[in-house]
Every structure is written in structure tokens, then in C-alpha cells.
Symmetry: C2
Subunit: 202 residues, 2 copies
DNA sequence: CAGCAATCTTGAACATCGTTCAAGAAATAT
DNA sequence: ATATTTCTTGAACGATGTTCAAGATTGCTG
């Protein structure tokens, strides 16, 4: 009994890893159930014994990506002991670097939710909310007058603004921005946003 | 001779309009060639006499959306005669409002480019570059020391940041942000960015 | 260990797409 | 009026996500 379930569990893990590799190399659109089945050595129909549908699979891969992103941001904060302002700049740069290094997986995070209207499972929502905590703490130090709710909103806005710069910056279609230039732009605008916010608060 | 070409031209326009309606009501994923053919009264294969593929169709719809967006931003700038700073805030709010009012069509603008790897036709790229000019002028007034290239980069960064706030803010999945609250957040952060940029320049 | 029941796995089949193309219809030229 | 060119049609193709009845496997019991 447990033997069979263990095997299922292991095969499910294989499936998620295969899906992750496939998205990383061919993009979200390149994820095909038949190819996955071949890679993990089962019939294409068997994929649906491990996972309800591809949506769940993409969500599971997304969860892993968010976890690695969280690690990357944590590492950026941990290095050295800079001012709150420079910590926020580091987080922004780390976000940019992570997106650049994990381009397809990072894109899948945002491309996918657009397609489906189904509600996200709780574990997936939790993953996402965790990201803001990196921003919250340094922001609280910079804006001591703001209450928790205001800080939460501002943290989300800051994150969104940086996300936008990274998203459009890495979109090579329009104007190809070299990565170092993008990093500089982001650092500069993050500093401006913080300076502006602090000045407004005074 | 011209008779047939005229009819083609008219049917092509019908096709684009039908596609626009379909994207607006059902989203980009709800765009189906067979439904389009039925709506404009032709065989499904005939769609490919009017347009090379759905990509081109989506791009044509996108061009119309960008044109309307441009109009909306122009109108926002024209109203009253505010300071450069408040002009930039108005542009940001107008962008947010346009996205909210044209949610599916606006999303299609960014969802689509992610899927295809083909190079965009020139007319489509031109449309996009035009948007930055609204931001460029007030920014130049605020940052007289910067040269044209720096201003262009900063204008793009500002646009990207606002885009990010709108994109994640209208994504109802995570935390539902009421539109008025989103508008306030955007106005506040845009003012902060501008204040910060001006202070840095001094 | 044998036999039975429950469960899992399989791969063929289904529905839905975008896209193509040979054949027939229509328009134009002679 | 006829011939030639052009356009239109809708059936067919190849992919793809998903389902499901039938067969294989596993786990339990005497």
C-alpha cells in the first residue's frame, strides 16, 4: 500500500522536475503532456493520475520557482549590512538578476495566471505573499510614521514598480536593453522612489 | 479588379473589428478563427486570405488598442494646464484607467508578445515607441540637466514602473485592490519617483 | 501460496484548435 | 462567348489536453 503511494509520490516529483526543465528550455508554451510522459516513462494518460491537469503542474513548478526566488532575495539581504535604502536597492537588483537568469520560469509565473480563471490553491497564494516581507522590513525602518497597512500597500507598490521595469526591460522585442544598463536604471529609480517617499513623509 | 480588392479590404476591416470584440469579451484565449469566420460570413479557411495568421490579426487589434491608448493619454495631458509633475501623475492615472476600462484588450497587448518569437513588423514597433513621447516632454522640463538619451531611458523606466503597478494591481488573483485605492497608490508613488529624481539631479 | 477484489496504468479515442490545399466558383480578359 | 486567371470553399491534417473502458498490477485473505 505505502509502496505504491511512495512510487506515485516519486513519480509526481519526477513529473514536476521534468516540467520545470521543459519550461526552462522551451518556455511555458513548450510544455506538452506527451513529452512529459515520455520523459518520466509512462503513458500520456498517466500524467493525470499524478496531477489534475496542466494548470496544477504549472502551479507546482511556479511554487518551486517562487521558493528559489525567495532564497535569492534572502541572500541579497543577508550579504553585508547596508542601510535600509541600499537593502531595498539590493532586493530590486536581485529580483532583476533572478528574472534574467531564470527567464522562462520567471515568465511562466506571470503568463500562466492570465490564462486560467480558476482560483489559486491556498498554498500557491501563500508563496506569493511571502515575497513582500523582504521589502516590508527595510521600508518600515525608513517610514516609521506609517502603520502596518500603509506599509503593506507601499511594499506591494514598490515591488510592482520594480517588477514592471524588469518585465518590460527583459522584453527584448522593443528596444534591447543590455542587462547592466537595466540594473543601473532599476537602482537609480528605486533610490529615487525611496528618497521621494521619505521626503513626502517628512 | 478594384471591386474585388475593395471588398477584401472591407472584409479585412470587419475581421479586425470582430476579433477586437471577441478579445474584449472573451479574452485573447477566446479568439477562435472559426467563430470569426462565422461572424464575418465566410469559410474558416477564408480568414487566411485576409490575414497571414492569427498573430497578424492580434497585432492589428493591438495597433488599434495602442492608438486608443495614445488618445486617452493625450486627452489626459490636454485637460487643464498643470505642472509637469502633475501632468505625469495624470498620465499614469490615465494609463491605469484605460487598462481598467479595456482590461482584456490591454492585456492582449502584453500577453501576446510573450507567445510568439517572430519579429514584430515595423508599424507595430512604431506604435509602441510613440507612447513614451507623452512622458518625455514633462520629464524634460523637470530634469533640464539630462540629455536626450538619459531622458529617453528615464521615461521608459517611469512608464515601466507604472505599468507594473497597473498590471499587478489589476490582477485580481492575489489581493483584490479596489480601483480607487490603486489610483491613489499610483499617484503617490509617481510623485515620490519624480520628487526623488528631481532631488537626485539637484 | 492461490484466488479475489480493489486499484492503477494504459493507449486509443475524442474534441478542439490553427492551418493548408485541391477542387469548384467567380471574375476578368480576349 | 470563351478562356484564363483569381478567389473561395470546407474538408482534411497534425497537434494538443483530456477522458475512459479494458487490461495489468497490487494488496488482502483463507
Amino acid at each position: 500500500m505505502t509502496k505504491a503511494l511512495d512510487r506515485r509520490e516519486k513519480q509526481r516529483a519526477d513529473l514536476v522536475l521534468s516540467a520545470e526543465r521543459m519550461i526552462a528550455t522551451r518556455g511555458l508554451a513548450g510544455l506538452k503532456t506527451r513529452d512529459l510522459a515520455r520523459e518520466i516513462g509512462c503513458a500520456n494518460g498517466a500524467v493525470y493520475n499524478l496531477v489534475a491537469d496542466v494548470d496544477e503542474l504549472v502551479l507546482r513548478v511556479g511554487s518551486r520557482t517562487l521558493l528559489r526566488l525567495d532564497d535569492a532575495l534572502s541572500a541579497a539581504v543577508r550579504a553585508g549590512n547596508p542601510s535600509p535604502k541600499e537593502t531595498l536597492v539590493r532586493i530590486a537588483i536581485a529580483y532583476c538578476d533572478f528574472a534574467a537568469e531564470n527567464l522562462q520560469l520567471w515568465r511562466a509565473l506571470f503568463e500562466h495566471r492570465m490564462e486560467t480563471e480558476k482560483a489559486l490553491p491556498d498554498w500557491s497564494v501563500d508563496d506569493q505573499l511571502q515575497l513582500f516581507r523582504h521589502i516590508y522590513q527595510p521600508l518600515a525602518a525608513l517610514l516609521p510614521k506609517r502603520d502596518a497597512e500603509e506599509l503593506g500597500i507601499t511594499a506591494r507598490s514598490l515591488f510592482s514598480a520594480v517588477h514592471g521595469m524588469v518585465a518590460l526591460g527583459l522584453e527584448q522585442r522593443l528596444v534591447a536593453v543590455p542587462l547592466p544598463a537595466l540594473r543601473k536604471e532599476i537602482a537609480s529609480l528605486v533610490r529615487a522612489m525611496i528618497d521621494g517617499l521619505v521626503a513626502q513623509a517628512a
